[in-house]
Every structure is written in structure tokens, then in C-alpha cells.
Symmetry: C2
Subunit: 110 residues, 2 copies
């Protein structure tokens, strides 16, 4: 199956998972995987959340993501992956002056 994000509806979310600012998301989901293309605006963030039965793999396409994973800060740049394994918690911020554009996968491990 081919997923072309340009053919998926863009949804604007204000304060993703309790964060602040705007996230523009195009996503596909079935029972096992969510596959998302996201644009997080400068100054925006997601709220802290735990991946109790799934994990998250986020590949930065442009901009930079500041993650806090189990309380540790990491800055993830284009071509790098942030991985939040199952059972761990994280949130992200866009502390740059340009959009953070990313691909994210949330697979269920059950």
C-alpha cells in the first residue's frame, strides 16, 4: 500500500496532547500503526505522554526537534531519528525559528 500524504487531509491541532501552539498533521492509521506527517510551528510543543503499549519513531525532515525523553533533553536534526521505546515518556518542542517537519510512526506492540 502506498501512502501519499498529499492525498490525506491536513488537520490543524492546537496544543497537541496538552502542549501549546499549532501542529498540522496528515495521518494514516490502522489497528497496528499510525503513520504521520507533521509540521510543528516555531514555539509549539506536544504535551508529556507515555507510550505504554506502543513506541514512537520520529524522523526529522527539516527544522530541529527538542525532545525530553524520561526527563533527558535531546536535539534531533534532519536525517536523525528520535526513538521513544515502549514504556517510556516524552514530549517535544520546536525551539527554532522555522517549522519542524517530520515523519512519525507509532506502532502497537500487542
Amino acid at each position: 500500500m502506498t501512502i501519499d500524504f498529499n492525498h490525506l487531509e491536513e488537520v490543524k491541532i492546537d496544543g497537541f496532547k496538552g502542549g501549546k501552539g499549532e501542529l498540522c498533521m496528515r495521518s494514516f492509521a490502522d489497528e497496528k500503526c499510525r503513520i504521520m506527517h507533521g509540521v510543528l510551528r516555531p514555539g509549539a510543543s506536544s504535551g508529556l505522554h507515555c507510550h505504554s503499549e506502543n513506541s514512537e519513531i520520529l524522523y526529522v525532515l527539516s527544522g530541529a526537534a527538542t525532545f525530553y525523553c524520561d526527563g533527558e533533553q535531546e536535539i534531533v536534526r534532519p536525517g536523525q531519528v528520535h526513538y521513544c521505546p515502549m514504556g517510556h515518556s516524552h514530549y517535544m518542542e520546536n525551539n527554532e525559528t522555522e517549522d519542524l517537519v517530520y515523519l512519525a510512526i507509532v506502532p502497537e506492540h500487542h
Copy 2:
């Protein structure tokens, strides 16, 4: 956790899963996810395989991938995702004259 593929060893594989030609792979794996950066040479392919307990999400970074998923052909281009859900079979070919560069995730669904 940040995964920087430039810090992972590149492994050259001849005939990935019974395919032909060269695949250059940098990969991270734990019990739940394999996260890979691959370069499939022009004319190279992977062999047909089934994702019985996992799935595969492959994002094309450059070049183009020709997939055969459950016998159906699809051509996947930069910015698009090929998704092989759990229980399905696929293989890919690089039928172009340039390298196929991709990010692939294989999450376990158990």
C-alpha cells in the same frame, strides 16, 4: 534516544532476503523495532518475504522504489510511504538509474 545513522556501521548486503545486487544498510534494533537507513543500488532488489508478526513502513528519501505487495505493483517516490501491514508479503526493486535511499521501520506487533 537519538539515532544518528552516520554513527552506525554501514553493512553491505549482497542479495537481501534472496534478492539481487547490493544493499547498504545502517540499522538500529531492539526487541520491538528495527530502524534502518538503506541504499539499494540500481538494478538491485530484495527477495519476497512475509511480515507474519510485524509490519514494514518504508519512506522513500530519494530515487524510487518499485514494490510488489501481495502481487500488486506500486511505485513509491520521495515523500511517499510504502506500508506492508502484518500478514502481508512484499519485495522491492530499484528499476531506476540512481540509488534508492530510504528509511524503513519494522515494528513487532506482539
